[in-house]
């Protein structure tokens, strides 16, 4: 058992909130991010499978409007899609792909080049 530490009584918001220009109600994404992914985990008597919660957040990140639709799309797809895993990796990836496609097209005689470049080449 730790000794009760001698911390000053804090009055957190009194100072800070007065300065804050925006009155709280935060957007749902920010709240869910914190209450589902952050915060202390203590095992309660009611055991909720954390994996369930994780799946849930993934579904939410997929499409907040429709959890069912997200389920239809499949979870693995999300996990492996760098575009959604982190935005920055997604951008880099997209750029690399674009460059490769352009190189291929420039090299000349790919039969798809004639179509004007709007095709979804996956080579």
């Amino acid at each position: 058992m730790a000794e009760p530490t001698n911390t000053p009584v804090s009055r957190p918001y009194s100072a800070a909130v007065g300065e804050s220009s925006r009155p709280q109600p935060a957007n749902l994404a920010d709240i869910l991010e914190r209450v589902l992914d952050k915060g202390i985990i203590i095992a309660g008597d009611i055991r909720v499978n954390l994996l369930d919660i994780e799946l849930l957040t993934i579904k939410i990140r997929l499409l907040i409007v429709s959890v069912d639709k997200a389920q239809e799309m499949g979870i693995d797809w999300w996990r492996n899609d760098p575009m959604l895993t982190t935005s920055e990796r997604g951008l880099a990836e997209e750029n690399r792909e674009l460059r490769e496609r352009i190189k291929t097209l420039e090299a000349g005689d790919s039969p798809t080049a004639a179509s004007g470049g709007t095709g979804k080449g996956s080579s």
Binding site: V35, I42, L62, E88
Partner: protein
């Protein structure tokens, strides 16, 4: 009326129940304080058919239910954080009775004490850096040759790549610049566009643990960085209870 359980919102110290008067718990429940040594757990009654294992599994899949619970949970945590050092619990921590809550506190007593010591007198601020929405520029023009089209496409892809790299660098710089003078900082996963509903790509989603008194200075620091960098949008939100910094070692 089904059996009820005890839903745990946050752990704090030195809390008098009347300090939370006026803040409703889930489903309008009354907030109570369960103590173990100097630790205070903030709890309220919840119906076990809704918050038991079965119920939670079912309900967590419903966004309306989840939103209501998440917002109430967060508002209770905010209320607790407005009166003392606060360790927010993860959503849906439920015990069968007060004895269970005390047992939970007792098991993690030393760690909870350490965490409360860390966050006492400090609050969390959120900073997001957003890239502007990329305008869809049509590179194709009527009568343009295929070669010209490809040349333009390549040039625009290269510009985009250079631009993206610059923006990422800038986000890193903002993150580090703001960390200066704070107690701790963390990078969170950038949020997906479809979840935020924002047009631009989120380059940085950061959380900072800041001394109470330094909140205004932190906000001005964000403002001055925004004034220097018009190419991105820098948003500062807070203060939050220290969700991202109250962490138990597993």
């Amino acid at each position: 009326m089904s059996e009820s359980g005890r839903y745990l919102y946050a752990v704090t110290r030195g809390l008098e129940p009347q300090q939370l008067a006026g803040t409703p718990g889930l489903d309008g429940g009354h907030l109570d304080v369960v103590e173990h040594l100097d630790l205070c757990a903030v709890v309220s009654d919840v119906a076990l058919d809704e918050y038991g294992e079965e119920g939670l599994r079912r309900n967590l899949e419903h966004l309306d239910w989840l939103e209501r619970v998440a917002r109430t949970h967060d508002s209770v945590v905010h209320a607790v954080a407005s009166v003392g050092p606060t360790a927010p619990l993860r959503l849906a921590t439920v015990y069968l009775d007060d004895e269970g809550v005390r047992r939970g506190l007792a098991e993690r007593c030393a760690e909870l004490d350490r965490v409360l010591g860390q966050v006492a007198g400090r609050l969390e601020w959120s900073v997001k850096v957003l890239a502007p929405a990329t305008p869809v520029v049509s590179t194709a023009e009527r009568g343009m040759s295929g070669a010209e089209y490809l040349r333009r496409k390549k040039a625009s892809a290269e510009d985009k790549e250079i631009n993206d790299a610059l923006l990422m660098d800038l986000a890193d710089k903002v993150y580090e610049a703001l960390a200066d003078g704070t107690v701790a900082s963390r990078r969170l996963q950038p949020q997906d566009q479809r979840l935020t509903g924002l047009a631009g790509t989120m380059l940085l989603n950061a959380a900072y643990l800041v001394q109470d008194d330094d909140g205004p200075a932190f906000q001005s620091h964000v403002k001055s960085l925004q004034a220097e960098h018009h190419e991105v949008s820098i948003e500062c939100q807070g203060p939050w209870p220290p969700y991202s910094f109250a962490v138990l070692e597993q």
